[in-house]
């Protein structure tokens, strides 16, 4: 921030509801660091899925800005998370995104930690060295039916359990822990992480920007509710399809109704099972399943797409045949990592049960389109001409909820 720019508390206080954030929120290094401290170190952050670390000794490393985390599966099959930094001289412990280890061993001087984080070996230290005081620093970790979340705070928000209780039954039928990762795509988004999240939280842009995605999805499922005769006819068709889908799901005991707590909880979230066009099966170019082996114990292909969003950094689409998860991690004030993971049943065979390019076609294209849009927004908000603009109440209400949640949590963080 320049000397003439108000400091963070002033910028937070003067944010106008229904308007985009002021430029420093998208460009300023001091606010970027505040985001890492007050948002990413104090809330539940989605980092990956259980099939990434399926076996004892499997570990994954995740960098959340300046927070380096490793998540391990121990010999009792429990998940453990630690700061990915040696207690000796601070070297990074796990370098690879995924690895398999006996113990966690520092590559520098071979300090060796058990998968419980306890220091088990530190050579050449004095006789009175207290190994028990040099274990790895714990990070909270929870799995929501196979979606892995970590929290770096001393005390993690306890409303995660509420979210898990509510959303768990929606996700469980898709059997994440019986999936495998079919593909992962990392994109460096050319804008602040909040621009990526804001772009995800509306479908105002979908019709013009996403020809592949809108083959299957309805913008109406993502907060798009414009007025006008044509729009209302489309909305009525969508509502009829939602009614049909939810009735069919109810018969199968699969929860599907909307639950939305994006801005009224510390661990904000939204979920709803949404209908898809035509065949109604999957977010593919032909709206049909991309994988012949269905997930979990599902026997019905036409279940639409379960949408699940979390504040501050994730969204997910669960279909009968595959799952796509998205995680956003801040990199610099004006870049962020978007990590997309495609999951199919663990027994599905590439080339037999699914074609990888067909499986990934829609979201591969959509991610690239979204990334370009984020870049356009970033290119504008960093210029002198930028002033906050108004959100469309009819189509961008969920973007407003993201911003309202962010402002509220930043203020709570500064106060506490």
């Amino acid at each position: 921030m320049t000397d003439s720019t108000p400091k963070l508390p002033g910028l937070l206080a003067r944010r106008t509801r229904g308007m985009t954030l002021e430029a420093p929120f998208y460009t300023d290094p001091a606010i970027h660091h505040a985001d890492l401290d007050l948002i990413f170190a104090r809330h539940w952050i989605f980092v990956g899925v259980e099939p990434e670390i399926a076996e004892p000794g499997d570990v994954m490393s995740v960098d959340i800005g300046n927070h380096a985390v490793l998540v391990a599966r121990d010999d009792d099959m429990e998940l453990r998370a630690f700061h990915n930094v040696c207690r000796h001289r601070g070297a990074r412990l796990i370098e690879a995104r995924h690895d398999s280890v006996g113990n966690i061993v520092c590559p520098y001087h071979q300090w060796t930690y058990g998968l419980d984080g306890a220091l088990r070996h530190a050579g050449c230290m004095p006789r009175d060295f207290q190994a028990e005081r040099h274990g790895l620093r714990h990070v909270h970790v929870r799995s929501l039916e196979g979606l892995i979340f970590v929290c770096l705070a001393e005390e993690a928000p306890d409303d995660f359990e509420d979210m898990a209780r509510i959303v768990g039954p929606y996700i469980a039928p898709h059997g994440i822990t019986r999936c495998k990762v079919a593909h992962t795509e990392d994109i460096v988004e050319p804008g602040n992480w909040k621009l990526t999240m804001e772009n995800n939280r509306e479908c105002y842009h979908c019709s013009a920007a996403h020809p592949e995605l809108t083959r299957s999805i309805f913008a109406e499922g993502f907060g798009f509710a414009p007025v006008g005769a044509a729009a209302e006819a489309q909305a009525a068709r969508f509502q009829a399809m939602i009614g049909d889908l939810h009735a069919r799901c109810q018969l199968r005991g699969i929860p599907s109704g909307e639950i939305e707590h994006l801005a009224d909880r510390i661990t904000g979230f939204r979920t709803e099972r949404l209908p898809l066009e035509d065949a109604g099966e999957s977010e593919t170019l032909d709206t049909r399943v991309a994988c012949k082996k269905l997930l979990g114990d599902l026997s019905e292909t036409r279940l639409g797409a379960l949408s699940f969003w979390t504040q501050p950094n994730s969204w997910h689409h669960f279909m009968s045949d595959h799952i796509v998860t998205f995680a956003v991690f801040p990199l610099t004030p004006e870049t962020a990592l978007l990590r997309t993971t495609w999951l199919v049943h663990q027994d599905a065979v590439e080339g037999v049960d699914y074609d990888l390019s067909n499986l990934t076609a829609v979201w591969h294209a959509t991610n690239a389109q979204d990334s370009a849009l984020v870049g356009k927004a970033a290119d504008g908000v960093r210029t002198s001409g930028y002033r906050p603009g108004p959100y469309s109440a009819d189509t961008e209400g969920l973007v407003e909820k993201f911003c309202a949640w962010y402002i509220d949590r930043m203020q709570a963080g500064l106060a506490g």
Binding site: E55, P56, G57, S100, V101, G102, N103, V105, H109, Q110, T112, G114, R120, H121, G123
Partner: protein, 95 residues
């Protein structure tokens, strides 16, 4: 012709990268045998935890008593920890 080697007489360990053959006395680990012969191999904990000495066993059998430093799938792939492995036959080790 000499008698075939036994745990009582010790075994020969051939290190395939350095081209060195060393004798391993009864009761010694592969790492100890290498050290007594003046070979410098990587190690740290000496008790099967840190895996610094993890190596490929090209041929032969060992009795390995590790403390969690190596996974079953690594053992299945022919890896051993030299610090806690005692020969049960002549060995070829990729070092």
């Amino acid at each position: 012709m000499s008698e075939s080697p036994t745990p009582e007489t010790g075994f020969t360990i051939s290190f395939s990268v350095t081209g060195r053959d060393v004798q391993c006395a009864p009761g010694n680990t592969v790492l100890e045998a290498a050290e007594l012969a003046g070979l410098k191999l990587p190690f740290s904990c000496r008790e099967g935890m840190c895996a610094t000495c993890k190596s490929k066993l090209v041929s032969g059998q060992v009795d390995m008593q590790h403390k969690g430093g190596i996974r079953p799938k690594e053992i299945a792939a022919g890896k051993i920890l030299l610090c806690c492995s005692r020969p049960l036959s002549d060995l070829v080790v990729e070092r």
